[in-house]
Symmetry: C2
Subunit: 467 residues, 2 copies
């Protein structure tokens, strides 16, 4: 607690902690147990219940370590000639398992208690897909490990060790900006142009007419056609010897323009994947974390069984993915890297999750999101030339404007009134408020939107007939 | 400063800082300037001198921001409906430019004052390569932006917008574990097997005999053959319509087994790249940061001009790459992501760089590395059946053991004596001590290595004839 005089009174625990920190190196290693010792082994066992730990060598107490010496979980003080830099994949913190449980473990989607931490959304998707490839090939081998021929040929990027497998994505999707993820991403040409890509198949994603209630027949047809498209592409891949190992899909195509699809569509998609033996990856990098009014958007689909993978980043601070227990990778160094997520992000996430639960922020996002959508529909009636297709799940709301130029001008007008909104897709305005967005913020937002629309009035704005 | 009684006396600056933090939201936005205002524009201009800023919208003072409101660099207090999560690529911190200058700017390789921050080594390599592809295609278009045909075809992953370009790597290399980087990585089969890959060309990397002084002719031949290999593969790519846009190479193939190559080899490699119009990317993820006795390993090659790209991560804490000014990407959102590095890592790096310079740690690494290599050569004479090929630059030293089983047993023996060393490649022991590794640590290390070799003596160990 801070006083006016500038003195801070430490509580006992913090004082004891500060006094416990080492201030010098030992003169020589000090060994108490074998390495890894019983404590490291116990932690590794615990880690396996939430996060694969096959590549972990031992756990390190970085607070007790000093200089060139590492103190492991068993109190062994080792002279290290091996760790001149972060190596969290091999040597996690002693509190890493507890951190994982208190953060990612607390918000795991139903049926997916295993998480894999990564640094960002792109590496989350990359590694979920790698895991899908590994399991697809393992299944083809009847569960056996790769043969010597596999091991030899993969070093030359040749079959059978380097298989001709693909991932099916959707037009309008965004899954990241690495070479691999750009091969699936179909959001905007400027993201993709000039970059080589895997020749992987792409299916159509529903494009709905709004309001939904008045366009049920058209929209149902969209679902049906897109699902047929998926089935045909998977079959075609099999015939061409370029099998589809996984389908990856966003609950809402955010970057591509906030394109929604119905729970029926997603249930149908999972069903096709299951029938055809293809892994079903849900990319919740944008939708996860509560903004949709449930912690994960896919909770609203009422799937009969969980997706095979759910990937995340952004609002979760750390990247990563959840996966079914059956999709563990048992060999070390196949799913691995220097960082394996970032413990400092888990510390922050632990606190965030506590507050989200304490203040019931996910439920609040659902309610305030409903109100936001009601207001957008009202604005649509008042300014029919300027906005249409208001849509949203939770506070993840959006509407379309007549063209990119007008949309960009609107964003600019709003921000200069003090309202920070963003664009996505071609001519869409998207709302991505924080979970602490309340009634009073909504009121200010609507007032400022109105003012912005009024300011746009002098311009000749209308939707073209074929919009 | 902390006293025994548990009281901490804050200095004036820290007290003023704590008192300046906001404790509530404003009732409504408060606008002082247009957005982006003059201060954001000035920061963006400053950022352009060290880091591309084309996708930056405005700079945010996150310390002054509270709740749903963002305070920008000009003191505008904006209600945000757009930033519910990290978005550092579009809205960097107001001190980001200074942080970049104080950290990455302080250790930029000669001739490469532009840096691009990323989260990890894989994304560093991915984005350096993307930049190479973009410039390769732009050059082919005579400097023009992509055509409409390019933009349309890339959305279908088809030529000409999605070009058939490749990156040439080397046998034994390691550049990361994404699908793209695994296509170049040729370290170990277990990293690659079951994962689809781009069919990109791979050249041989020198495999030297040691000691170097006694094997000059053989090793020079290695350099020559490998360089010829590179030239032929680039020419073959051109003929097959699968042009090589970039060559990526590690100064030492670390993960692959600490394979070294001579400055002559690297100068020759750069020359071939220049002659053939191929970008030259040096992957210093493992070698950068001072361990080689110079801050960057490539400084020791005496190149006539800088490499086109130098990538880094690990000891630099943040990932990223340096690049030539001529290799900027001027369009926004081509080289971009949510994070664009991690400012907290730059804060740590700033301090680390200060200490590395203050304590002349790079020079110390050079000297202690020389001593380590002398000691390894002595051990080689004492235990000729157990180790050979001692080699090293700075403290990045290693030796080979007869086979993987013996190597693994040796690592295990050493660690249970309190010496933490690691393996790489097939049967190599690698040293990666910290920059604060001193004479006394070396002494302990050598004693423990000796004890470990003695403990291995009862086993029948020797090199096979064809090792």
């Amino acid at each position: 607690m801070q006083s006016r005089s500038g003195l801070i009174c430490l509580n006992g625990a913090l004082r004891r902690y500060l006094c416990s920190l080492p201030t010098s190196e030992p003169n020589a290693p000090l060994m108490r147990t074998e390495v890894p010792g019983p404590e490291s082994k116990k932690l590794k066992e615990g880690m396996e219940t939430i996060h694969q730990a096959t590549s972990v060598k031992f756990f390190v107490d970085y607070e007790k370590s000093f200089g060139n010496y590492l103190v492991d979980a068993d109190g062994n003080n080792l002279l290290t000639c091996a760790v001149s830099r972060p190596a969290l994949g091999g040597y996690p913190r002693t509190d890493f398992v507890q951190l994982l449980k208190n953060s990612l473990g607390e918000v795991a989607p139903k049926g997916l208690e295993h998480a894999q931490a990564m640094l960002c959304g792109t590496s989350a998707n990359e590694n979920a897909i790698k895991t899908a490839f590994i399991h697809y090939q393992t299944r083809k081998r009847g569960g056996k490990p790769p043969s010597q021929e596999d091991m030899d040929s993969c070093m030359k990027n040749e079959i059978p060790g380097t298989p001709n497998l693909s991932v099916l994505g959707f037009n309008g999707s965004f899954h990241g900006r690495s070479l691999g993820m750009l091969s699936i991403t179909r959001s905007k040409a400027i993201h993709k142009v000039d970059i080589p890509a895997f020749k992987w198949p792409v299916a159509n994603f529903p494009r709905y007419l709004y309001p939904l209630a008045e366009n049920k027949k058209y929209n149902d047809e969209q679902d049906k056609n897109c699902l047929e498209d998926v089935g045909k592409l998977i079959d075609a891949g099999k015939q061409k010897g370029n099998e589809v190992a996984a389908v990856i899909v966003e609950p809402i195509q955010c970057e591509g323009g906030d394109h929604h699809a119905s729970p029926t569509f997603f249930r149908g998609l999972q069903k096709i994947c299951q029938e055809k033996g293809v892994y079903f990856i849900v990319d919740e990098v944008q939708t996860g974390g509560g903004i949709c009014g449930t912690f994960w958007a896919h909770e609203q689909w009422e799937l009969p069984t969980p997706p095979d993978f759910v990937t995340f980043s952004k609002k979760l601070l750390t990247g990563g993915y959840y996966y079914k227990n059956s999709l563990r990778v048992n060999e070390p160094y196949r799913i691995y890297n220097t960082w394996m997520g970032e413990p400092t992000k888990l510390v922050l996430l632990e606190k965030i999750v506590q507050i989200v639960k304490r203040d019931q922020l996910v439920n609040k996002a659902k309610n305030i999101g409903n109100s936001l959508l009601v207001e957008l529909n009202k604005l649509e009636k008042r300014y029919p030339n300027m906005l249409k297709n208001s849509r949203g799940i939770g506070t993840l709301c959006s509407f379309d404007m007549p063209n990119p130029t007008i949309r960009d001008k609107f964003v600019d007008t709003a921000i200069n009134l003090g309202l920070h909104i963003g664009g996505c897709g071609n001519s869409t305005i998207r709302f991505r408020p924080a979970l602490i967005f309340e009634e009073k913020h909504l009121e200010t937002t609507v007032n400022l939107l109105e003012t912005a629309f009024e300011k746009m009035k002098p311009f000749d704005i209308q939707f073209s007939d074929d919009f």
